[in-house]
């Protein structure tokens, strides 16, 4: 079961990407070598000042009030498969609450949560088990079940996979800003799962099945690129306060990495996360496949703000027998 790109396909990805208009990445900046800022904060636990860290991050990223004010925001957490007592699998509800508060503090007209869990049809179970349901209830936040809501056909902007046009939920098409709020984890098929892979969860299960099996048949890595090219998140916020190492995305073990990583460009954020995890983004197939047209993974093209990678880098455990983990260490 190989999902890797051929060299020809990688070249095609770059060529196709350059030809794509409106995929969300500021091509102009890339052409003129403007660095993409990514902010990393050290946050020792979910009882710490996550809101302060996020607001610092937006300031460091140069986000202006006009970018957020009066905007309708949808946060897309990772609630792929909750199990009681296994908080390392999913975006933490307290981190999600801090993200909600950050966007409201910056003047968002509304903030909603949307998720289409990849492995579960019982979305309410996911909300109850993770504690996200408590946040929604207490803070009176709207939730959209992306697996079962209305959806519309959208042009596939990259066509790297065999998916063709994409069916995307109305809930994500009807807002001004979609924000990927991912978990920092290793992944046994893709190497890592971060803000780009998290976008699998916007694809409605009612059309793509469970465990979003159509995307697997179309090629996991190419599907990641198609989805993100067609609906590029405005921001990527990664919960690396407790991450997952080893046999992610479900059966791995928690890592108290104590980090929040954020930026405008999901690929730059994911490349930074990978380096913080001791993983070379240039060796993760879908990250290299995205580089050059969905952003850049090159260190010299990413301006690290906040904490230094070298200070916080720790080698997330990789498993030799997992093909996607082999030879990806920095």
């Amino acid at each position: 079961m190989s999902f890797s790109f051929t060299r020809r396909e990688l070249l095609k990805a770059s060529a196709a990407g350059v030809a794509i208009a409106g995929v969300g990445y500021p091509l102009f900046n890339w052409l003129f070598k403007k660095k993409e800022p990514v902010f990393t904060a050290a946050v020792g636990g979910y009882d710490r000042d996550m809101l302060g860290a996020l607001l610092d991050g937006f300031r460091e990223l140069g986000v202006t009030p006009e970018e957020i004010r009066d905007k309708r925001v949808l946060l897309k957490p990772n609630l792929v498969e909750p199990h009681r007592g296994a908080g390392q699998i999913n975006t933490d509800p307290l981190f999600l609450r801090a993200c909600i508060e950050a966007f409201l503090t910056l003047g968002a007209a509304s903030v909603a949560i949307g998720e289409g869990p990849g492995h579960r049809r019982d979305t309410y179970y996911c909300l109850e088990t993770t504690g996200v349901g408590d946040i929604l209830h207490e803070d009176k936040i709207a939730f959209a079940d992306l697996n079962f809501g209305k959806f519309h056909k959208v042009k596939n902007q990259a066509n790297m996979s065999t998916l063709g046009d994409l069916y995307l939920p109305e809930a994500v098409l009807d807002v001004d800003l979609v924000v990927s709020v991912a978990k920092m984890k290793t992944h046994h098929w893709a190497g890592v799962t971060l803000s780009l892979k998290n976008m699998f969860g916007i694809m409605p299960g009612s059309v793509y099945g469970w465990p979003k099996n159509v995307l697997h048949h179309a090629g996991i890595e190419k599907s990641i690129l198609d989805i993100n090219a067609s609906l590029t998140p405005a921001f990527a916020l990664v919960d690396g306060i407790v991450g997952m190492e080893g046999d992610g995305p479900i059966m791995g073990t928690p890592v108290n990495s104590g980090l929040v990583v954020m930026g405008r460009n999901p690929l730059a954020v994911d490349a930074t996360c990978a380096r913080l995890m001791g993983i070379d983004p240039r060796k993760v197939t879908y990250l290299i496949g995205a580089s050059g047209w969905l952003g850049s993974i090159s260190e010299r093209m990413i301006e690290q703000r906040g904490e230094l990678i070298a200070t916080h880098q720790r080698n997330f455990k990789l498993i030799d027998k997992i093909a996607a983990h082999r030879n990806i260490r920095l």
């Binding site: 199990h83 019982d122 309410y124 179970y125 809501g149 099945g209 099996n213 048949h217």
Partner: protein, 289 residues
């Protein structure tokens, strides 16, 4: 209390069917909603004319090849077909529709792939997928088996292979999840809704000993269930094996109160909850009489 709660669910289904409304805009006439509303009303003997209308609405959604897709423009998303068959179950008025759907399901099964060494389950046997031309998974296989059992096809070789899929996908420590048992040597975790559906389908296919650990898992998990999909299949899965939970009605009522938190449940979920409170929901896993 049972009659009261079941009555509330039935009234909700009747109201939604009569008004054509639903919890979410644009999803009332989704085929799974129509099917579970029909099943939920039918098992309580309620509103027979309305049930007939719901079944007719499903008939209108049926393609010439027998499938009932989610939408006409999502032709591969034909997972509601087995649910429609459960709604039409044993109804002579819809015998032609049942035959068509049966033929479709017998000839459209999950994709098999050459056995990858990193995956624990047998990828070379056919069950049923959520979406056409993809792999077989537990829930659609279980639902399809129940639908085909009701057509008297328990001994059909295609059905036997589907049974083999569910046997193969049972987790070594008990229970079922969406359909992956082991990946890279690690056993994955069971899920209550998948376990409940599989237990319904396998009622006459496995011995009590063979499902002991699955029943133990579901009974343990049941205490924590409040959400409608998991709860309804949890109740039905246990009921199928003679372990109907004594507090099922109370739990369903508790589940309904969650709507204060999440808003109104979709009709399919109301239909499933109503179904779970009947004594013999579509004679779980049973054959045609």
């Amino acid at each position: 209390m049972s009659d009261h709660i079941a009555g509330t669910l039935v009234k909700t289904l009747i109201r939604r069917a009569e008004r054509g409304d639903a919890a979410s805009t644009g999803v009332w006439d989704r085929p799974d909603s129509l099917a579970w509303a029909a099943v939920g009303l039918g098992v309580h003997g309620a509103a027979p004319d309305l049930v007939a209308e719901l079944k007719n609405a499903l008939m209108e959604r049926q393609r010439q090849d027998g499938a009932i897709p989610l939408e006409s423009y999502t032709p591969e998303a034909w997972w509601p077909t087995s649910m429609a068959m459960l709604a039409w179950r044993l109804d002579p008025v819809f015998v032609n529709q049942r035959k068509l759907a049966t033929e479709f399901l017998l000839h459209n099964r999950g994709a098999i792939v050459q056995q990858p060494e990193e995956v624990g389950h047998d990828t070379t046997i056919h069950g049923w997928p959520w979406i056409g031309h993809t792999h077989s998974w537990v829930e659609p296989t279980a639902l399809t088996l129940m639908a085909l059992f009701a057509e008297g096809l328990r001994d059909h070789p295609v059905v036997r292979e589907g049974v083999a899929v569910l046997k193969n996908r049972m987790l070594p420590d008990g229970g079922w999840n969406y359909g992956n048992t082991m990946v890279y040597g690690a056993q994955l975790l069971p899920m209550p809704e998948c376990t409940g559906i599989a237990l319904c389908a396998m009622r006459n296919e496995l011995s009590e000993d063979e499902v002991q650990s699955s029943l133990a898992y579901l009974e343990k998990e049941y205490r924590h269930l409040r959400t409608p999909l998991s709860l309804s299949w949890g109740i039905m899965g246990l009921t199928a094996w003679g372990r109907h939970p004594g507090d099922a009605e109370h739990k369903v009522m508790e589940s309904l109160t969650l709507q204060d938190r999440y808003g109104l449940y979709e009709t399919a979920l109301i239909g499933l909850l109503a179904t779970s409170l009947s004594d013999f929901p579509f004679e779980i896993g049973g054959d045609a009489q």
